[in-house]
């Protein structure tokens, strides 16, 4: 149970976004991927579930090369991976309950009663009991993110990928989401990969932090190692001081 990203390259036209990214995520680990806006963090996350195909290199989940899987195998793999989108990507014509139930309807053998029970349980985990009948348009930004989280974990995946789970949220709601991620990691024992540019969040939730810069992983280490890093680019990022690194300015 691990994710291995090996020498992944991805370009859009002439723009090279990922230029040989290599990163291993061990079972049960929470790894935060940080980096400046436009550094390819979300692109990297999308290659893991096969939403984007790398131009070269490979992503292995549970030892399976994601790019080489047939359609049915890919869908079977996706049932093991929960994905939390940056702007939640809730189906706006469906209620919260229906959104959370969507993934469960793809699980073979699940009855309607089991689906209902799991939806309630998932909403309870993200502290949104009683919100099932609401439409996404009736929720705040933080609540939408939590519904996105509930939908991602409803199938009890072994991996959860978070794409900027706290972007656009106030500090208190950010802390609530971070606490939820930690709670889900603890209670469900999942392996998590969190893309964020919120340094505080990364330090709070990650076992390990990878810093993506210029299309490559520039630095990996524990939160303490990141704090004490003397790499000017990393320091510029964590301190929010571009003058520390000439090439960032």
């Amino acid at each position: 149970m691990s994710i291995r990203i090996w020498e992944v390259r991805k370009s859009f036209g002439a723009r090279v976004v990922l230029d040989g990214v290599t990163l291993d995520v061990d079972a049960g680990e929470t790894v935060a991927i940080i980096g400046f806006s436009g550094s390819g963090k979300s692109v990297l996350l999308k290659t893991i579930v096969g939403l984007l195909k790398p131009d070269s290199g490979a992503v292995f989940v549970d030892g399976q090369d994601v790019g080489a899987l047939r359609r049915e195998e890919l869908y079977a793999l996706r049932r093991q991976v929960g994905y939390v989108f940056q702007f939640a990507a809730l189906f706006d014509s469906m209620t919260v309950e229906e959104n959370v139930a969507m993934g469960l309807r793809r699980v073979p053998g699940m009855t309607e009663a089991q689906i209902r029970e799991r939806v309630e349980e998932s909403l309870r985990l993200v502290e949104l009991e009683g919100y099932g009948a609401r439409l996404p348009g009736q929720l705040s930004g933080g609540q939408r993110k939590r519904v996105g989280l509930a939908r991602a974990i409803a199938t009890r995946p072994r991996y959860v990928l978070y794409d900027e789970p706290t972007t656009g949220l106030d500090p208190v709601t950010t802390a609530v989401i971070d606490r939820l991620i930690l709670k889900l990691d603890r209670e469900l024992g999942v392996t998590s990969l969190v893309v964020t540019h919120n340094m505080e969040s990364a330090l709070r939730i990650a076992d390990r932090i990878a810093f993506l810069h210029d299309g490559r992983v520039r630095f990996t280490g524990t939160p303490d190692e990141v704090r004490s890093s003397e790499d000017p680019i990393v320091r510029a990022f964590i301190e929010g001081r571009p003058e520390l690194a000439q090439e960032v300015v």
Binding site: K46, V49, G50, L51, R71, Y75, A76, R78, R79, V81, G82, Y83, F85, Q86, F87, A89, L90, F91, D92, M102, G103, R106, R151, A152
Partner: protein
Amino acid sequence: MNGLWSAPLAWVGRSALELSAGFGRFGRFTASAVRALSDTGTWGRQLIEQMARLGVESIPIAVFIAAFTGIVLALQASYTFTGAVPLYFVGALVAKTMILELGPVLTGLALAGRVGANIASEIGTMRVTEQIDALETLAYDPVAYLVVPRVLAGVVMFPIVVAFADAVGIAAGWITSINLLDLSTPEFVRGVRLFFDTFDVRYSLVKATSFGLVVTLVGCFSGFGAAGGAAAVGRATTQAVVLSSMLILVLDAFWAAVLL
């Protein structure tokens, strides 16, 4: 001289390349929709809802257009025939024109606006807000979930809507004839029967089926291709309406050449 022609030639070349790439994308998209037909578990649940949304909810606008078309046909036929052709030919002209041409084509064009725009904007919004990516991550084939039920609903429901339109158009022509023209019901019916052939109805419904296919398929294709933000959804919607309207007219000529 070379410099003078190089810019327009380059433009023609680029346009030709873009057009052929567009055909290629549409071909691949259609092939993926055909392949997704086997995924009945995914699209089966959506079909009835889409038949109601795309078909049943379109009946009022189709009936409205057909009713006024029938009225105008009867009045214009009477105006044209006066003194030259027996007035009961009004029935023949109204029925023949509604069934062969105006019923399917006007309904098709109206639904290209209503249904095509609706599909393109809905799917386009889902594309730009990552809802289609979300479907993928939840192990749904988005083509099976979004495209197949809409296209099948279009293929099944357009002929039904057109059949309503044909009937309402003829009925409106009849009501106009007996109230505003110097024509009785038996005379109008005599005119309708004069050139009526059951083939005409089949022809009308075949056209409607093909219109249903292109309006829904082009709407889905345009929506899926949206990339960016609100402007991209707007472009996709416009593209869906313009392209499917043009294809309806092309198909109209095609069926006339092939079947008549």
